[in-house]
């Protein structure tokens, strides 16, 4: 049986390839970790508002076609708003990559399993007509999928299977995501300085 990577290991593989790219992150563990592994990049972290992150990233991608947007979404969040895949798949911005973290568990929201832990999220992306999709369960697999999809000129979807953090691991992150107003200000400044 494959030993699944941890979330932070996946993010550490992502960050070097995300230089100059917008990262939209969802709440909880990913929000705290992206603040830690990429403290100064163009990050937009959506705290709470589960399931709306792909929509926010889609808006950014269509508004800034010259910028690459990588959106991180949780399995629980995506299942709250599955239609966001359909809308993204229909619009198909070539500069958008959707990455989901699948551990079949609400890690920071009560530590409960998904209603359907065996659900296959990649199937939904395929059904939503994403032109390229993958499910990976190794760091090298993630690297390969990123290399294939980033800058491919096509909308992409990667589903990451990962090991659950323990409550102690989540607690130990100790990095609170920035306040919305601070983040919005920093993000707007990056947009002004780096976009036409």
């Amino acid at each position: 049986m494959t030993r699944l990577p941890m979330r932070q290991a996946y993010l550490e593989r992502l960050v070097p390839k995300a230089e100059g790219r917008i990262i939209c992150s969802y709440l909880g563990s990913s929000a705290r970790m992206i603040s830690k592994v990429r403290p100064h990049g163009p990050n937009f972290i959506l705290n709470d508002f589960m399931g709306l992150n792909i929509s926010v990233a889609l808006g950014m991608a269509v508004a800034r076609p010259d910028k690459s947007v990588i959106v991180l979404e949780g399995d629980g969040g995506l299942l709250m708003k599955l239609e966001t895949l359909v809308t993204a798949g229909a619009k198909a911005p070539p500069n958008l990559l959707v990455v989901t973290f699948f551990n079949a568990w609400y890690i920071t929201g009560g530590r409960q399993p998904l209603p359907a832990p065996e659900v296959n999220l990649e199937d939904f992306a395929r059904a939503a007509r994403f032109p390229q999709t993958a499910t990976v369960d190794t760091l090298d697999g993630f690297d390969a999928a990123l290399d294939r999809m980033l800058d491919s000129g096509r909308l992409g979807y990667i589903n990451l299977r990962l090991k659950r953090e323990t409550p102690e691991q989540v607690e130990s992150l100790g990095v609170s995501p920035p306040h919305p107003l601070e983040m919005r200000t920093n993000f707007s400044r990056w947009i002004q300085e780096n976009c036409k």
Binding site: L46, F49, L52, V56, A57, G59, M60, T87, K91, M183
Partner: protein, 175 residues
């Protein structure tokens, strides 16, 4: 991708005015969910090269897409029926929390004047209390002033306030 052209012939005066106002205010991204009243407006925007149109599956998505666009520095608006407002509370709260200004163009169904039909009535009854409960400033479109000017002024308002604003559109406003 479908060929896009600027085509407003055959559109109602109200829809033409809205498009004029959106352009005057430099709104470039419009997200939408259709409804009988606003379908022609959405089709015209989708066919117009000036705009980036995002047709959404749900209204809450449309609000979040508009929020993302405006956070990325492009002026945005969303358009949908008031039934969708009832299921968009979190999207509106997102825009408020992250100070994402946007114009919400909402077809106001279920009024005694336009829709005295039982399945629309709840929409008319709940729209204003819903907006008040969410803390969203709003106005009914006026017949005393060109709609385009009202749209442009509403866009100016949202960017000064850094908050969403809803302009409620009746059947008569769009015909």
């Amino acid at each position: 991708m479908a060929k896009k052209t600027s085509k407003t012939s055959g559109l109602s005066k109200g829809c033409r005015e809205i498009i004029r106002g959106l352009k005057a205010a430099e709104v470039r991204v419009l997200s939408s969910v259709t409804d009988t009243y606003i379908g022609p407006l959405i089709a015209a925007v989708a066919a117009d090269r000036y705009f980036e149109s995002v047709r959404c599956c749900s209204e809450e998505e449309a609000v979040a897409v508009a929020a993302g666009a405006t956070l990325a520095g492009k002026r945005s608006a969303c358009v949908f029926q008031n039934a969708g407002l009832l299921s968009s509370g979190r999207g509106v709260a997102l825009a408020q929390t992250y100070h994402a200004p946007m114009l919400m163009l909402i077809s106001h169904r279920g009024t005694h004047r336009d829709d005295p039909i039982y399945y629309h009535v709840y929409k008319g009854r709940t729209t204003e209390p819903m907006l008040e409960g969410l803390g969203v400033s709003f106005a009914h479109a006026s017949r005393e002033e060109p709609l385009g000017a009202q749209v442009a002024r509403a866009v100016a308002y949202v960017h000064e306030a850094e908050q969403p604003f809803a302009l409620l559109l009746s059947k008569g406003d769009l015909t």
